[in-house]
């Protein structure tokens, strides 16, 4: 497949896409937690269009081969933080449900942590298997 962008240009496109995607998701999250904080002043759909275009460009660009790293303590701490954040957001959004809100948000927080660990360790296992086969 012929790449639209190569080497450093591809790296810039990839970086641009990542920054825009994270910005969009953060604003979307903010809008969900505090309705109107973003949408009244900024149409998120316009940002979404830019994210999609950047994403398409990134897909058709050259990607560097990443070196596989073993998940470290930081990765697990990050997953824990995401789980706690997920728990807090879901608790806030479902607080009208009373005691059920606690159950839903605790289960959701645990699921976020477990699934993230599963994906993280699964990726690592796959990479290890591949490298062993190559040897």
């Amino acid at each position: 497949m012929k790449h639209l962008f190569k080497k450093h240009n591809a790296e810039i496109v990839n970086h641009f896409f990542q920054v825009l995607l994270v910005t969009y998701l953060a604003l979307l999250l903010l809008e969900q937690v505090f309705p109107g904080v973003v949408s009244i002043y900024l149409n998120l759909n316009w940002l979404l269009i830019v994210v999609i275009i950047a994403g398409v460009l990134d897909v058709f660009s050259e990607h560097e081969i990443r070196e596989n790293k073993k998940p470290g303590r930081k990765d697990y701490l990050f997953i824990m933080a995401l789980g706690i954040l997920g728990f807090l957001i879901i608790k806030y959004k479902t607080q009208e449900l009373g005691w059920l809100s606690w159950i839903i948000s605790i289960i959701a927080g645990i699921l976020i942590i477990l699934l993230s660990i599963l994906v993280l360790e699964d990726e690592n296992d796959e990479e290890n298997t591949k490298s062993k086969l190559k040897k």
Binding site: E11, I12, V19, T23, L27, F34, P35, G36, Y41
Partner: protein, 475 residues
């Protein structure tokens, strides 16, 4: 350390422009965040939303409107629309361009989670006759023998004040004695009670849905203090029948309890619903209903027909009106030794009564009785909640002149434009109920019923919402 070196090596190998461009991309989220912080917190802003009614479906429900070329006609009462309201907004200025027959038009802004609106009158044809009677902004002296000092009128005892806005009248003080008091007269529609309470309210209530119309029939009761501050709201559920079903529905019992009340007058408001309240049990013997009572122990409803007796008292000459919607409600209403004949449906029969206390008896019920005073269900339970009577306003100049001493209306500006009226009114947004950052508004034309044939055309609605900065400051 090794990893760090590798990272540095790879960064060094890159052309400088790549590093710069990558750093520059972070400016995008930074600018967005700065912009959002600025507009949300730092700068005061005005948001203008213009609703050109003929262009889009802003008004609902569709069954209560009809669309003409450039406007929408309100064909039934209670037509709703929503306005987006940014967080921490302070005021809403609203202009409405409309035309129609000379009738009272109100605009409501939702102020509670349950169905409850804060009303402002945007058009009142009765205002024209009030020219020269205004003693202060929105305060009119109807009885020329009384003081024209706007600071004094609430302190005068025994007078009748008609008001479309909440006032803070002076409560009366009674000797409270706890007693079980039961009202087993069935009531239909919304009712406002005043109760004299000490320490607590305990209300046992029996409701029975009529299911004459589609939809669920929840009944909401709200308890507030005499200044109108909400203390508790409770909803008594539907009977589970949401379709039309005129058979006798089961009776649902509910309870409302409120502790820690200081001794005094409290307002208990029951919402309108498609059903009857069959019985009330209060823990106080001082209970009155404000202005209007709809007696419903009639065989047109699924209840046993039985005679009803209510009591009222006037501190000046006052008009009593009685109306029924059905032929079954045509009757002779006995008011002490006088008879008021109700011999046609829909139109109210009236009688002027002198100062005094009256017993009103109805054999057939299905009748709405209105007075500029209070009703009680026994002689002993009657009390005057305030040193003066605060009643709702009837949109009839003659009624205003013969029943009120003062009239209080919210200030509203109205101008004529090519045969249309353009009314402007302001709402405070501090205590309004927002759902998904939207405020529900509603047009209320009290004289518009399902039987009435007139309509109100709305051309546009222009709203301006003011949001101050977190540092405050005047508009």
């Amino acid at each position: 350390m090794k990893k760090n070196k590798e990272y540095k090596k790879s960064e060094i190998g890159k052309p400088k422009h790549v590093t710069y461009v990558k750093a520059l991309t972070f400016i995008i989220p930074a600018l967005i965040v700065l912009y959002l912080v600025n507009v949300n917190f730092l700068i005061p802003r005005e948001f203008n939303y213009f609703y050109d009614i003929g262009e889009k479906d802003y008004l609902s429900p569709a069954s209560r409107i009809s669309v003409s070329k450039d406007s929408v006609n309100l064909t039934s009462n209670l037509v709703y629309f929503n306005i987006p309201v940014p967080r921490n907004s302070e005021t809403l200025d609203i202009q409405v361009k409309f035309k129609g027959p000379e009738t009272l038009v109100k605009l409501g802004a939702r102020d509670r989670e349950e169905w409850h609106y804060f009303w402002k009158t945007i058009y009142n044809p009765s205002l024209e006759f009030l020219e020269g009677k205004e003693i202060s902004s929105g305060i009119y002296r109807i009885n020329d023998a009384l003081s024209d000092n706007p600071n004094e009128f609430l302190n005068q005892e025994g007078i009748v004040i008609g008001s479309t806005i909440p006032l803070s009248p002076i409560s009366t003080e009674l000797n409270y004695t706890e007693s079980k008091f039961t009202i087993n007269t069935s009531l239909r529609g919304s009712h406002v009670f005043y109760l004299y309470l000490k320490d607590s309210l305990r209300l046992n209530l029996k409701k029975q849905d009529l299911n004459w119309y589609n939809g669920s029939d929840e009944l909401t009761a709200t308890l507030s203090n005499s200044s109108g501050d909400l203390i508790q709201a409770i909803t008594f559920p539907d009977d589970g029948i949401v379709a039309i079903d005129k058979s006798r529905a089961r009776i649902i019992e509910g309870i409302m309890i409120q502790q820690n009340l200081t001794e005094g007058v409290y307002k208990l408001e029951f919402s309108d619903f498609d059903g009857l309240i069959r019985q009330f049990d209060f823990n106080t013997g001082k209970v009155v209903v404000v202005d209007k009572v709809y007696l419903a122990d009639s065989d047109i409803f699924p209840v046993e027909q039985k005679p009803s007796k209510i009591y009222t008292s006037f501190s000046r000459n006052s008009e009593l009106s009685a109306k029924t919607w059905h032929t079954q409600g045509l009757q002779e209403l006995k008011i002490e030794n006088k008879i008021l004949r109700i011999d046609e449906i829909t139109n109210a029969s009236t009688i002027v009564l002198a100062k005094g206390t009256y017993e009103i008896s109805s054999e057939k019920n299905d009748i709405i009785i209105e007075v500029p005073s209070y009703f009680s269900f026994t002689q002993e339970s009657y009390f005057e909640p305030f040193i003066n009577k605060i009643v709702s306003v009837n949109n009839d100049p003659e009624w205003i002149e013969s029943n009120l001493d003062y009239l209080v209306l919210e200030p509203v500006s109205i101008r004529k434009e090519d045969g249309w009226n353009v009314a402007s009114v302001s709402f405070s947004l501090k205590d309004k109920y927002l759902k998904n950052n939207e405020l529900s508004m509603v047009f209320n034309i009290p004289e518009m019923t399902e039987e009435s044939e007139f309509q109100i055309s709305v051309d546009w609605i222009n709203t301006t919402i003011y949001k101050p900065s977190i540092f405050g400051g005047e508009r």
